[in-house]
Symmetry: C2
Subunit: 212 residues, 2 copies
């Protein structure tokens, strides 16, 4: 499982597994798990089928590793925002603004892989759908954790419904992902995010639609 493990011998790889995984990730990001065929992967990764299967076991394992890589390389903004030593409102603002940028980055597929990867799947790919759902639920839980922290510190009201609010914020981010896929620009997503932020207590509750 570790890329750093040295083999005891044998013919060396003629390709960089991480670069190949990157190509696969972008393809899954664009077309989803099931709609991405081995033929497409073969062309994008510039590998033969046996090379893919030797390095990544099978299509499902390749997709799971693509998810891990996406989590590590593409959406670090989320953990950064939620763990930054800033007020709760600012943390959530960074989260939504980061999503606005990340979901509409030029040269990358629009939206979030955790959604585009497979929302409605065939029964055979149910495990993949479940895996993606797990990632989405983890995001929602992370938001809830940050909000509860804000409530504990007194930034948010006593009876603030952290979980319900996290479900709202996660829902907004999911919606942004779809809007991004439908062509929304980074600026449009920022405006959407700013509107969504207006319901969160803190930061003086400004209701205007002017730019930052």
């Amino acid at each position: 499982m570790n890329n750093l493990e040295k083999p005891r011998g044998g013919r060396p790889r003629a390709f960089d597994p991480d670069r190949a995984l990157d190509a696969a990730m972008h393809l899954f990001w664009e077309h989803g798990y099931e709609a991405t065929s081995l033929a497409m992967l073969r062309e994008a990764m510039r590998l033969t089928p046996p090379q893919i299967y030797n390095a990544f076991t099978d299509k499902e394992t390749l997709f799971r590793k693509a998810l891990e890589r996406y989590h590590q390389t593409e959406i670090g903004f989320a953990l950064e925002a939620l763990s930054a030593p800033v007020p709760t409102h600012e943390a959530i603002r960074r989260l939504l603004m980061g999503a606005a940028e990340t979901y509409s980055r030029p040269g990358k597929p629009g939206g979030c892989l955790f959604i585009s990867g497979g929302l409605a799947t065939s029964p055979q790919a149910q495990a993949i759908a479940d895996e993606l759902k797990t990632y989405r639920k983890a995001s929602e839980a992370a938001i809830a954790g940050r909000l509860e922290k804000g409530r504990a510190s007194g930034e948010l009201p006593e009876g603030f419904p952290a979980e319900a609010f996290a479900k709202y914020l996660a829902g907004v981010m999911n919606g942004m992902s779809i809007q991004a896929r439908d062509g929304a620009s980074a600026e449009e997503l920022r405006v959407l995010a700013r509107t969504a932020l207006a319901v969160l207590p803190g930061e003086g509750q400004k209701q205007d639609q002017s730019k930052d």
Copy 2:
């Protein structure tokens, strides 16, 4: 194209096309366009392949007719809400609350067919993805139209950004669709909708989270 047109002769159909189309619609709703195979459709519609192809031309046409039927039979709440002779805030409230119910109806697939039907597709199904996007954009435009009407009538402020707000509301509904697919209950979706509504001017701007 019309179900009411009488044939000049020939053997009569041994099935009800509308019931068969309903079965297909639910299957597409659950699994999306590409992940729904003819074998699955054959079983759910209780028809043989030639029956399906004779009545609906091909899989793509069947899906498009399923979209039309979904639009007519499942999401009438949207047009009702937006065309009802009620204040703007109430119209939008009905829209979001209707979505909360419709996206989590027992016995039906979670979420909205216009999203679950195919968000990320193979290149061969690009036309289907475009068609779904057109439906989503039409929804957003309908919301924008209702908001502009509210602005024109003086219910909303002079410079109210109807289109940007419509993009926010459409995004929230898209997010609700995904939350519904991830198992959110009608009540959870109503809470989400109520939170989202708080940013819309009118109705006294109440910020509490209590039930209706």
